[in-house]
């Protein structure tokens, strides 16, 4: 793995060999900066960088670029998410330059959920390029210091490039190949979809390690603490590409309603312990969806504090 001189804190943590711990923060459905700052407080000092989601689930929110800049101003390190659904290559390149100019040093390249899931299903989507090409585009801008058309960039954006991977989507046999292609395209780090099926993930990581992919890229395992059995049920039924074993739903149902949140956190903590030991896993990406206030407690109990 080559150092990118991106100046990214996440990159420093990973290259120094520390077990990374990243967080996530959805921007508000409005221009509510106070709300965002409140969430930042819970994350500051507890994670290495924070993903700023980009119109997540195709619901309009404050732009991930603005959210990232606000985060930066509050002394946190953003991981600026960008989806291919809403922008063509011109808008992408211009936002990448803007993000870098505002001090953003990490960026996560995604295709994006289809607009039919969001609050403007009647929208026209873009999909000019796909996530694989977005990775390659950011790499070209960073390493060749050129736009897609070959023109030179005056001060190139030196981003630490991230991509996503869902080991649980179909066809399963292809997943490791798709990951390998993302790495070949230029991904420096990967954050996986939330993992619940640990057996399947172990199998997936074995393929990753056998192919040596973990030596070419840092892989952060996605963890989402379940708030209750209802959430687990909902996600298993309605969120595409989620693999939630019946045993987990049963485990949550097995405790009193008031204790289900604690049981969800316990499961997440067990997962984090397992990931610390798992070959090829370089850290954890904690997606505490609208549960940012629990992050300090989870980080504390997971034994990942203080952050380097």
């Amino acid at each position: 793995m080559t150092a990118t001189q991106s100046g990214s804190n996440l990159e420093k943590v990973l290259t120094a060999g520390h077990f990374a711990f990243t967080g996530e923060c959805g921007p508000p459905k409005g221009a509510n900066v106070a709300h965002l700052r409140k969430k930042f407080k819970y994350l500051k000092g507890n994670v290495d960088c924070v993903n700023m989601t980009d119109n997540q689930t195709a619901v309009v929110r404050m732009s991930s670029l603005a959210g990232s800049a606000l985060m930066k101003a509050e002394g946190l390190e953003p991981n600026f998410q960008m989806v291919c659904r809403d922008r063509n290559r011109l808008a992408m390149m211009s936002d990448i330059l803007g993000a870098y100019a505002l001090g953003v040093r990490n960026m996560l390249c995604l295709s994006g959920d289809h607009q039919s899931f969001g609050n403007h299903p009647e929208a026209k989507n873009v999909h000019d390029i796909d996530s694989m090409q977005l990775i390659a585009l950011v790499k070209k801008m960073r390493d060749e210091e050129k736009f897609l058309n070959g023109e030179d960039i005056d001060v190139a954006p030196k981003m630490f490039i991230g991509a996503a991977c869902n080991p649980f989507a179909d066809p399963y046999e292809f997943r490791v190949h798709r990951l390998a292609t993302k790495i070949a395209a230029g991904a420096d780090f990967i954050q996986t979809q939330c993992i619940f099926n640990m057996d399947k993930f172990r199998d997936f990581m074995k393929q990753v390690v056998d192919k040596g992919l973990h030596e070419r890229c840092y892989i952060l395992a996605g963890v989402t603490p379940m708030k209750n059995a209802g959430m687990a049920n909902f996600m298993s039924k309605y969120v595409p590409g989620m693999d939630i074993p019946a045993s987990l739903i049963k485990r949550l149902k097995g405790v009193d309603k008031r204790d289900q949140a604690e049981e969800g956190i316990r499961f997440a903590l067990e997962q984090i312990e397992a990931f610390k030991e798992m070959q090829g896993v370089a850290g954890v990406h904690l997606m505490a969806i609208e549960w940012e206030h629990k992050v300090p407690e989870i980080a504390e109990r997971a034994g990942v504090l203080p952050r380097p």
């Binding site: 290559r89 295709s111 289809h114 796909d130 897609l148 179909d170 798709r178 979809q193 590409g241």
Partner: protein, 225 residues
């Protein structure tokens, strides 16, 4: 071929609400094949409109016929002596038809009776599916002969996305994930390397993004063949 769906009777009635003598004009091309706008459908629509207007107490004169094709001026010209006899003409061709008609007969008003939907084919009797988005630079040979531009909801060139589940697209329960099919075909034929290669950025100028397109066959223009 071009596949189309007929507009609702309500919408069509709304368009011709203030007209007293109309022509329903079918097309013997694609819309006949997909059972939407041929002579038979023109006849059915004509009598349906008549009945509906009679019920409203505002009877209307409706005639119907079908041209060989409405996307060819040679056939559109056949309407020259009768087009002025009507208050309006309702075209049952794809969107191209009423435009050719409007251009040739600027004094008449042409209403579209169908919604042009996609380029596709019949997968079973009565079911048509989209197969091509007319991107102008066909590359399906790279994808096992299947088109991810038209058939993947995100037009991915390196799919499948994280929402693909059991061969079904995340967007609709009744739509196959075309990327699942592409990957399976490549796995079966041992040609996975076609998919892991990073594809060049697509040049969309040959698609709609380059503006209206034109296809010129010089030898035909010059009349050399």
């Amino acid at each position: 071929m071009i596949v189309a769906d007929r507009k609702s009777l309500e919408e069509i009635l709304g368009m011709v609400a203030d007209r007293d003598k109309i022509l329903i004009l079918g097309c013997k091309g694609c819309v006949t094949v997909c059972n939407v706008g041929g002579l038979k459908e023109a006849e059915i629509l004509a009598s349906t409109v008549k009945i509906a207007r009679k019920k409203e107490g505002r009877p209307v004169k409706v005639e119907h016929r079908a041209l060989e094709r409405q996307c060819d001026n040679e056939y559109v010209a056949q309407l020259a002596d009768s087009v002025a006899d009507y208050d309006a003409v309702v075209s049952m061709a794809c969107g191209v038809g009423p435009q050719f008609l409007s251009e040739m007969y600027p004094d008449q008003v042409f209403f579209p009776a169908v919604n042009t939907t996609f380029f596709g084919g019949a997968v079973q009797h009565g079911v048509w599916e989209e197969r091509c988005a007319g991107c102008g630079a066909c590359a399906i040979h790279l994808f096992g002969g299947l088109c991810p531009i038209a058939r993947c909801a995100k037009s991915l060139l390196h799919g499948p996305c994280g929402g693909s589940s059991n061969g079904i697209c995340e967007v609709h329960k009744d739509t196959a994930c075309i990327w699942d099919a592409i990957v399976k075909k490549k796995l079966e034929t041992g040609r996975l390397e076609d998919l892991v290669a990073i594809k060049p950025f697509k040049d969309w100028r040959t698609a709609r993004d380059g503006g209206p397109r034109r296809s010129i066959r010089e030898e035909l223009v010059k009349g050399t063949i």
